[in-house]
Structures are given as structure tokens and as C-alpha cells.
Amino acid sequence: VSFEQTPFPAAAAGALADHQLRANLRRATRTIRDRRAEAVGEMPDWEELRSAGERIKRTAIRHLDRHLEELERSIERAGGTVHWASSGEQAIEVVAAVARSHGTDEVIKVKSLATDEIGLNEGLARRGIGAIETDLAELIVQLAGDLPSHILVPAIHRNRAEIRDILSAGLGVEGLGDRPAELAEAARRHLRSKFLSVPVGVSGANFAVAETGTICVVESEGNGRMCTTLPRALVTVVGIEKVLPRFRDLEVMLQLLPRSSTGERMNPYTSLWTGVTPGDGPEELHVVLLDAGRTDVLADPIGRDALHCIRCSACLNVCPVYERVGGHAYRSVYPGPIGAILTPQLERMEEGRTLPWASSLCGACYEVCPVKIDIPSLLVHLRGRVVREREGSARVDPERMAMRALARTFSSRRRYEAAQRAGRIAQWPFVRGEKIERLPGPLAAWTEGRDMRPLPPRTFRNWWRSR
């Protein structure tokens, strides 16, 4: 998966012009949002569950080094092999080596964000190995040569008619209708033969339990169960932040995740596997523990809370910005509010520097986050990091100059009151009747679609003094 780097405001403007996309997103996000609200509303102890989830993830991340070493020991004790990958390339190499050792040029895949993040499919393709996505939506995205635009519903930007055309062309099915059952049937026929013949499966992990070495994947379609049980070898790529200290932590997480994610009480398939069992499932299990920038995120004591995310996507569905612009504008596998705090950090603040501003700070994301990540505060914190890093550069920065000047103005009553007077004088060329329809400089962006209210002849403090 590779995204071209465009600043968010420009990418968003492009997406906003696409009326079909706007309609698809509006419909889809509302449906999931309502379903989640209902599933959460019936839980009397939802707030306690959220607090428990937050505590579990906070503990896990605080002592990550210890939990990861325990996870390694547990997996190896159960007959699995652990690989440590500090970069995406190293992880791809592990998958490729397993495929080669089984003499295959194809692997079947469970939907996985970590593998999308590192560009596993493209990396394998460069090594002559085809990766077959088996999740319906991922398959649609793959067949269309498209990019995912949502954490849970990667093809959310497509409607049914578009999906029919993609599947019909991609799978060579003629006369395909657009009923969901027909679309699923076409995909099922294509995938069955792959499940039964490809010897290597690749998955991500929702959770990895340090205590037992158990890997957990939750899904809806059953394709994940096929990929993790039918092949001879299974490679699981796990971001190091996915570790849970104890098996019983799953009790909390498996309540929080489906209700927040799909709005279901429980997801249809929850697969748990621990090492290998002779005669049952894959004979070989490889677990790749992936860093790819996560240790750098850990170094920021405030920013590191982004690593608590369990990828439910509730924050995308309630975000007024995401609902309008969709996932592609974020130029990352992780779009929406969580993407705006995770992507720039994973990229060591070198990419995605406009993302912390891709939010009105309305707080809807924080309210639904099942592990209580205070996303608005993290956005503000990251804005500060970007601004301070920019200070290091010698370039003249008009914004910084304006902000400094304003701070100085506000530091004295005399200067503040003088500025109020100056503003009233400076605005006169722009005032037309009771309003301002065009402003100069950076404020022109305001009057693009809104009138501005002129400064009234008297401030409040003028009135106060005169009464």
C-alpha cells in the first residue's frame, strides 16, 4: 500500500468535490454509528469497561519490554517460532522466506492493518509472490487496484453498484447482480479454491497474550478461520503494541471491540491459537513481532497513548471530518482521528505533518473510544511538536510571527486595547453594510464560504466603562 504525500487540506478538497463519495460515506458512517450506539447503550457497565480497557492497555504499554519477552517465551514453548522485525522490510522478508520454504508463489491473507502498513503485498509481489486477500472488502480494494479508506470497512467509499462492477471484472463473472448475497457468492467461489490449495496463510493479530502465547483474531466472514486453520504454515505479523499481559484481559477486550467496531454484541468468528498442535491446523507457526516506528512513539510520554488503539474504528465513524472527506485524504492505512495521531508519529513526524490539524477538536472521537484515548489532547500535543520542530528551521514563518505578535499583544492590557482600536480602523476597507464578504491574507480562507462579522464600534470594555 503506498500513498502519495499530499497535505491534508488539499487532499480533502479533492475528496469533498466527489459527490458520490460524500453520499456513500454519509450513508455508511451513519449506519455503523447508529448500530454502535445501540450496542453500547444496552451495556449498563460500559463506562467501567472502557476504564478497564484503558488500564489494561496502559499497563501493557508501560511494561512493554517485559510483556514482549514473556510473549516470545510463551509462543516458543507452545511450538511457534518468533521473529523480531524492526522494520517492515524485515517482516516482509520473513513471510517471503516461509513461502519459499513451502515452494509456493501464493499466500492467502486475513485482513490485517499491520501488513497493509508495511506494504506486505507489494513487497511480496517484488519477490515474485502473490498475496490473495480473502476478506471481501479487502478483495474488492485489491481487485480495483484501490487503497483502503477505512480501518474496518476498507471499501466504504464504494457503493453496491461499483462493487458489482469491480467483482464482475476482477473475477470474470458475467451477469452479476448487486444483491449482497450474490456479491458474496461470487467472492466465495473464487476464494474456496484458494483456501483449499495455498499452503501458506498470513494474518495479523487483534491481540497477543504474553502469559499464554495465544494469538487472537476477530472477524465476521469466516475467511480468517479458513486462513488460520487450513494452510500448512501460518505467519502472523503482530505490531508490538498488540500485546496483552494476561489471558483474562481478553474478557474485557472482546466485549469492547465488537460493540465499538461493528456494533455487534459479539463478532461471528473469534479465533484463538496457541503454538502448534500436531494433526490440528498449521504444522508451522511463525510470529513476527513488528516494531516499524513503534518504539519511537513510545519515547513520547503523551503521544504514546496512540499505541493503546485496538483498531475498532469507532472514532472514524463519528468524526465529522472523516464523514465528509473519507479515508484517502489522510494518505495512510490509518485514517480518521486515530490516523491523525498515529500516522505522523509512526513516520517520525516526517510525513503527515498536517494531520494533527485535520480536526475541529469536537471531541466525538474521545467519547466513543473504547480504551479512552484522549484523541483531541493528543492532536493538540502533536500540533505543538510540529510547531516546535518547525522553529528549528531558519525559514521565515508568517504564522509563527503572527502568533508571537498576538501573544505579546495579549500580555499587556494597553497593547490589547490598542489592538482592538487598530482592528476597527483596519477593517473599514472591507466592511460592506453589516458584513465583510472578502478578507485579505490568511483570513481569505474564512470568507471563501462565510461572511465575517465586522468589529462593532464599541467593545464590551468600552461599554463597561461608560455605564
Binding site: 471530518v321 469536537c362 493538540v380 500580555s411 490589547y416 474564512w446 464590551f460
Partner: protein
């Protein structure tokens, strides 16, 4: 009861009538209102735009100006939220123990206007008369930070002659977001336009909020679209005792 008005730079400069309305309502209810004239800006814009270090002196200024005031009232939910939510973090960022203590002490004394009425003053009916169809827009900070909930609606329901109209998806953001409105103008305006459509659908003559920053955005859109709907701050509705909109 003595109440110190924290007017906020935004209202002082752009919406003086809101401050006048706060003074009127509180004096009508028998409060003594004072206005510490050394106050300027709480630092919200700097803090939210990534200039946290520049905001710290403004935090210091705020706690000094209001240090002796037992009760502080503001007609801005986002500036009240700034004091409650961000001041402790800014004091920590500055590594200033004294400031952190001052912030901890002052924060519980800062009330958003409707909070002061319903809480310490314990009134729901302030004796207002406002014969208009009014839609209440819950500003994000009113809703999710201060958790005003039904509070402002209870005050509006007690106003004589006022007819409340409902905005569909009222709790979705209007798209203002401070500098967001100019840094991401296209997205901000897309959010605004959906809000304007919902406002038109409500049948309201005026949109009311406990924060003028949303009303600057919504009012700007209503004016640009010549939609014939006005905006009014909650305090101005509650101050009104005559007939026409203020």
C-alpha cells in the same frame, strides 16, 4: 453574590452585547458583577494551534487577574473548557509547581454562564420574554467538555413566549474549530453547510448557543446564504424582556 466576569477577548471585541446581557441577567438576579479590566485572552487559540509555550504567560496572567475572585463567570464554553482541561497540562508543560497549584485552586471557581445560573444561583426561570422560534446548537465544548447536557435547554424552556425548534443531528460539530476554519476551509465549510441545512429544516428564526465562536461560523454561513435566520447567544435570550430579537 459577587461574580467576576471573564468576558474572553473574542466576546469583548466581537460580541459586546453578549457581555452586556450577562451583566443584565446577573444584576437582575441580585448579583454584584465586577469586571477585572486587566484580563485579555485565556490563551486558547495559542494552545490549540501548537503554540503551547506562548500560551503559558497568558495562563499566568489569567490566574493572577482572577486570583482573589470567589466566583468567575464566562459566556464562552470553550474558554471555560480551556481553563478546566488545558490549564493543568500547560502548567505541567511549563514545569511550574506554583502555577499548577494556582490553576488547581482557580479551576472550580470558573463557571460557564448557564452553569452559574443553574448551579450556584439555582435559578431556571430568569424572567425572560422572547417570543421567537429558537433552535439550540450545543457547542462541542458545552456538550463534551463541560457536559452542560440539558442545562441550557432547561433555561430556554422557562423563557416566556419562546418556542424551541429541534436541529437534526444537533450534536454534530458546526465546523468552526478555531484555526481549523481557516487551515482546512473546505472541510470546515462542508461541515457548516450540512449544519445550515439542518437549521433550515428546524423552522427556527434564530439559532442560539452558549458559545459565540460557533455562532460566528453559523452566522457567517447564514449571512452568506441569505437564509433569513439569525444567531443569538443564550445570555442575550435570557436578558431579553421585551419583544423583538435583540
Amino acid at each position: 453574590m459577587r461574580a467576576a466576569l471573564f468576558i474572553t477577548c473574542f466576546n469583548d471585541t466581537l460580541f459586546p452585547r453578549t457581555g452586556q446581557a450577562v451583566v443584565e441577567v446577573l444584576e437582575r438576579l441580585g448579583c454584584e458583577v465586577v469586571f477585572p479590566e486587566e484580563q485579555t485572552c485565556c490563551g486558547q487559540m495559542h494552545a490549540n494551534s501548537g503554540y503551547q509555550l506562548e500560551a503559558v504567560p497568558l495562563v499566568r496572567r489569567f490566574v493572577e487577574v482572577f486570583a482573589e475572585e470567589p466566583l468567575i463567570v464566562t459566556p464562552s464554553s470553550s474558554c471555560a473548557a480551556m481553563v478546566h482541561d488545558q490549564y493543568p497540562r500547560l502548567a505541567e508543560l511549563a514545569g511550574d509547581e506554583g502555577l499548577a497549584t494556582a490553576v488547581r485552586e482557580i479551576s472550580p471557581r470558573v463557571h460557564e454562564f448557564s452553569q452559574l445560573l443553574l448551579g450556584p444561583l439555582g435559578v431556571e426561570d430568569v424572567g425572560a420574554h422572547y417570543p421567537h422560534r429558537v433552535a439550540y446548537h450545543p457547542a462541542c465544548h458545552s456538550l463534551r467538555s463541560l457536559r452542560l447536557g440539558e442545562g441550557p435547554l432547561r433555561l430556554l424552556r422557562a423563557v416566556e413566549g419562546l418556542e424551541l425548534c429541534e436541529i437534526e443531528e444537533a450534536d454534530s460539530c458546526c465546523g468552526f474549530g478555531g484555526t481549523f476554519a481557516v487551515k482546512n476551509p473546505d472541510t470546515s465549510i462542508a461541515m457548516l453547510n450540512d449544519k445550515l441545512a439542518a437549521i433550515r429544516g428546524s423552522g427556527a428564526e434564530v439559532v442560539c448557543a452558549a458559545d459565540n465562536s460557533c455562532l460566528l461560523q453559523i452566522g457567517g454561513g447564514l449571512s452568506r446564504g441569505r437564509l433569513g435566520v439569525g444567531t443569538v447567544h443564550l445570555a442575550e435570550v435570557l436578558a431579553s424582556t421585551g419583544s423583538g430579537p435583540r
